[in-house]
């Protein structure tokens, strides 16, 4: 009996190697100009994958800004003195997209013992930058990237998904809800992963219609996927009904049940959408065929631009190259709509009076504004307190009133209102005559206020 350790080893080795880019960036961080000593770049990279995969659930991928927002607190927590977390975040994204190699596949050499001793190279992407249909630049995790994050490196996603749902069902049945929520979240990750797997499969199939055995291979795969999805939807809806029943019956466990319900809803929606895509896949393929048939792609194979075109061009002489510059301009810049001179408009423009200089076009700094609220200086309680003191005042000096207020422990604010009310009555302009205030030239001796020590009397009586 032959042991198949060679095959197993190779498979596991390839699994292990997919984490290499993360270790490489962590190991090389000492060579960078950034202060990275306290940063755990592997952890940050995994969190980035998490954010991206999560965003892929709701959208086509994550914006750079979303990743930056999620990573900022982690980066700052590791290095509280750091002014700007953005360079660290970009470094992590660059590491995942392999930007130092211009976004090409990570190539990791390894030894294959299966069938002798062969040096091979493993090529994969973890995260790619894509342009969405509405023109945003988004980060998407590849199947390998999702596998890396999900820690599910060695299994078929279909099998994992089926297993995950069986576990989920058992947990819901036994009422182990907090564990069920965790399992449901993992199941959702599997859904995203499965979606990505099918998406890239369909994309590859569509890219070159001539190179694919559509009927023999692709349609069969689509059939299998549709069967898998139908099962998933059945199980998920079943679980969702159970959860709903519990939700209706009980109050105690409600928050966890509600979360479970929302995660399950998410899975169902995603699978329905995927099912629709798959059902439409055949039509999409026919469309792609129609599109590629009008494409005037040259019969000759594509050149390697760097090796076959740029390098030979750079050693040609300037004089040799000059005649072909117009061709380069036309093909690389694409068409530019020429501006046509409209004579009638030209005349009226030239005759028009000179306009004011255009306002200076300067980017405005965004300032965070808070709604303007008039500060409350004295509240109703202050007013009432002061009125009470003044009502009780009988031929007293201001200094006495202030001392009494202070003895009562009134806040400085109330004291100030007292002084202001007395001054207002002294002014006499807008008082109703309930208070008569007079000065005899005596100085006020008070730690907080200055001026004359006024006499305060009720309005009806003289000083």
């Amino acid at each position: 009996m032959t042991t198949r350790w060679e095959q197993d080893l190779t498979r596991r080795l390839r699994t292990l190697l997919r984490t290499a880019p993360l270790h490489q960036v962590e190991a090389a961080k000492g060579h960078r100009a950034l202060p990275l000593a306290d940063q755990d770049l592997v952890a940050l990279a995994l969190r980035t994958l998490d954010v991206i995969i999560e965003a892929m659930g709701l959208d086509e991928g994550a914006l750079h800004a979303e990743v930056a927002l999620a990573l900022d607190p982690l980066v700052r927590a590791a290095d509280p003195g750091l002014e700007d977390s953005a360079p660290v975040v970009e470094l992590v994204i660059d590491a995942l997209t392999n930007r130092s190699q211009r976004g090409e596949v990570f190539r990791i050499p390894y030894t294959d013992f299966d069938g002798g001793f062969v040096r091979r190279e493993l090529g994969f992407h973890l995260v790619r930058e894509v342009e969405s249909e509405d023109g945003r630049i988004l980060l998407r995790a590849t199947t390998e990237g999702i596998n890396l994050y999900a820690g599910m490196l060695d299994y078929d996603v279909e099998d994992a998904q089926t297993a995950e749902e069986a576990v989920l069902r058992a947990q819901v049945e036994r009422g182990r809800l907090s564990q069920a929520v965790d399992t449901a979240r993992r199941a959702r990750q599997r859904s995203i992963q499965y979606e990505e797997k099918l998406r890239s499969f369909l994309r590859t199939a569509r890219r070159d219609v001539r190179g694919v055995d559509w009927v023999g291979e692709v349609l069969q795969q689509i059939d299998a996927a549709l069967r898998h999805l139908a099962e998933r939807l059945h199980v998920e809806r079943d679980l969702r009904t159970q959860v709903q029943r519990r939700l209706d019956e009980t109050e105690v466990e409600a928050p966890e049940l509600a979360e479970l319900a929302s995660v399950l809803d998410d899975c169902v929606t995603r699978h329905l959408r995927l099912q629709q895509n798959l059902i439409g896949a055949n039509q999409a393929w026919l469309d792609a065929q129609a599109r590629q048939s009008f494409r005037p792609r040259a019969a000759l194979p594509l050149a390697d631009l760097e090796r076959d075109v740029l390098r030979p061009a750079l050693v040609l002489s300037v004089a040799d190259l000059d005649p072909v510059v117009p061709a380069l301009f036309a093909s690389f810049f694409g068409p530019v709509a020429p501006r046509v001179l409209a004579l009638d408009q030209l005349v009226s423009r030239l005759l028009a009076p000179a306009r004011d200089a255009a306002p200076v076009d300067r980017p405005l700094a965004t300032v965070e504004l808070e709604p303007l609220v008039a500060p409350v200086r004295f509240d109703d309680a202050d007013e009432q307190q002061v009125r009470d003191w003044l009502d009780a005042a009988r031929a007293v000096r201001l200094s006495t009133l202030l001392a009494a207020a202070r003895a009562e422990g009134a806040p400085p604010r109330t004291e100030r209102l007292l002084a202001l009310e007395v001054l207002r009555a002294y002014d006499g302009a807008d008082t109703d005559g309930t208070l008569v205030v007079a000065s005899d030239g005596e100085r006020l001796h008070d730690p907080r206020f200055e001026g004359d020590d006024l006499w305060v009397n009720p309005g009806s009586e003289g000083p």
Binding site: E104, E131, A290, R291, L305, P312, A327, P338
Partner: protein, 235 residues
């Protein structure tokens, strides 16, 4: 003959939209409807392709992000060197053309990279790109046999012209001058941005889906042919 009129009109509308490369079907219902009809209506497709051909244009892709047009050097829509920057010397002209080629080769070094999914984009920062190009030119210049001191400037290898502009001279206000490599790269990218082929994202530049299609379907071949025809032994 109202059918023919309508077809011609719609083909014109579609090409008109396509010539505004930053327009997106997702944001323009008429454009979206026309794109949809182009894919389903064989007559409209035929007329549009024919009209485009007459204008020296080629429809490279019609998809959810719009129509990608390519153009021949003879087309009235072709970008002319004089329109790009007035009064360029021969050296500057050749350097500008080479930079366009170098940008494409930086983003898509191999045929394999070019064949990646349409939606996959790449980013670049000018300093890293210039450093890469300078390194490439330096290594090529070292192996190049011609003596740079001999003959007129036009007979020197093009990589030497690029190397001469490599140092980053700065103007008094700190901006790059237009004659340095970095400055020239920036102006090329700005022009590409006007054509909807690249996007500025922060302090980086990102290629778009349209750029990949442009290079893969047209410019890559055109450049290959151009460079081959420029080589002296090809005549």
């Amino acid at each position: 003959m109202s059918g023919l009129d309508t077809l011609g009109h719609d083909a014109g509308r579609l090409l008109g939209k396509a010539l505004q490369p930053r327009l997106r079907p997702a944001l323009d219902p008429e454009y979206l409807a026309l794109v949809e009809r182009f894919r389903t209506d064989a007559d409209l497709r035929r007329v549009t392709v024919a009209v485009a051909e007459g204008l020296g244009l080629r429809i490279l892709d019609v998809g959810a992000t719009g129509v990608v047009l390519g153009c021949s050097p003879e087309s009235p829509f072709a970008m002319r060197v004089a329109d790009y920057r007035a009064n360029l010397t021969v050296d500057q002209r050749v350097a500008s053309g080479l930079l366009l080629l170098a940008l494409a080769a930086y983003w898509f070094p191999s045929a394999e990279a070019l064949l990646d999914d349409d939606e996959v984009v790449q980013s670049l920062d000018t300093a890293a790109f210039v450093a890469w190009l300078v390194e490439l030119c330096t290594s090529l210049a070292a192996t190049e046999a011609r003596d740079p001191a001999v003959g007129t400037p036009e007979l020197r290898a093009a990589c030497r012209t690029l190397l001469e502009r490599a140092e980053t001279r700065k103007t008094a206000d700190g901006r790059r001058t237009a004659s340095t490599l970095a400055g020239m790269v920036e102006s090329a990218l700005e022009q590409l941005e006007k054509g909807g082929l690249v996007r500025r994202t922060g302090d980086r530049w990102t290629s778009t889906r349209a750029y990949r299609i442009q290079v893969r379907e047209l410019a890559g071949h055109a450049a290959f042919e151009a460079v081959r025809s420029a080589a002296p032994d090809s005549d």
